[in-house]
Symmetry: C2
Subunit: 169 residues, 2 copies
């Protein structure tokens, strides 16, 4: 799938089939994260692959907005160690992962709120690390839809030279 | 270009040809950002397209690490307004943009440090907004290289179920 089509068609997916993600596909996701750029190429990330159903259920209970983690057969925790810009570098890796996943027909849906200390304890991670997210992956249960994504029009979010100048000069 | 190849081959590019990026390509980059996911689909971003050479030079002087902005014919400032997670949502849009750019043969290189207040003043942005970055884009001057990216091996950054368990169970 070409890159722009992947970006254009990708959706957040919260319902997953009971179909495991094979090792080869998992490796592809991890490689996509590994190959991401980072500040000064510091690569300050640790990826924890979670397939244990009990752990997935526990993590789902440690977030008010991530119940769908319990519906997945796979999730990846992204932990940052000593990163100057943990959210930025972590997200560069994650966005690579979710796009590489989509190309393989695999969906994902970012979760933003965690009881972070408890998740880190569960994963054996030291508290000094920053948890960016635990992101579940799975083959979409939802049928493909052709409706457009709900997004603001370009005119609302693009300016030229100065904020608010919505026409190119 | 398929998505994984785009992810795999993409490099940060700091030297640009004196070849403008056409409107169609620019539109593609902006669309890639516009179509990114964001927390609760809030789309809290504003993209400011900068092609004025004087402005590019000024911005380059407002960062200790972004001299290469002055070498570009195009940069996009990503400003976040009222975002709960400005770095994360901003980076999701930017990573989409830089991948869409690479597919078109266009390079970019993230800059992390800015005198943020001064850049916002220059762009007419209110101080309440968060500047995630101003990212320069351009056709690479550097010859294509076949050397591998310098990255940590997967074994160093991937664990299974618990941090430090480097073998799948």
């Amino acid at each position: 799938m070409d890159t722009f089509t992947c970006i254009r068609t990708r959706r957040e997916i919260r319902e997953y089939l009971d179909k495991p993600i094979g090792d080869e596909s998992l490796l592809r996701l991890l490689e996509a994260g590994r190959l991401a750029p980072s500040s000064k190429n510091s690569q300050p990330w640790q990826f924890v692959v979670i397939r244990n159903k009990e752990t997935l259920n526990k993590i789902a209970s440690l977030t008010p907005t991530g119940a769908h983690i319990a519906k997945a057969l796979l999730a990846i925790a992204i932990l940052m160690d000593g990163a100057k810009l943990p959210e930025i570098d972590g997200t560069r890796a994650i966005q690579n992962m979710v796009l590489a996943a989509w190309e393989l027909g695999i969906g994902a849906c970012w979760v933003t709120n965690f009881y972070e200390d408890a998740v880190k304890d569960l994963l054996g991670a030291p508290q000094r690390m920053k948890l960016v997210t635990v992101i579940p992956f799975g083959y979409p249960k939802e049928p493909k839809t052709k409706r457009n994504k709900m997004r603001k029009p370009l005119e609302e979010i693009v300016s030229y030279e100065r904020l608010g100048e919505h026409s190119p000069k």
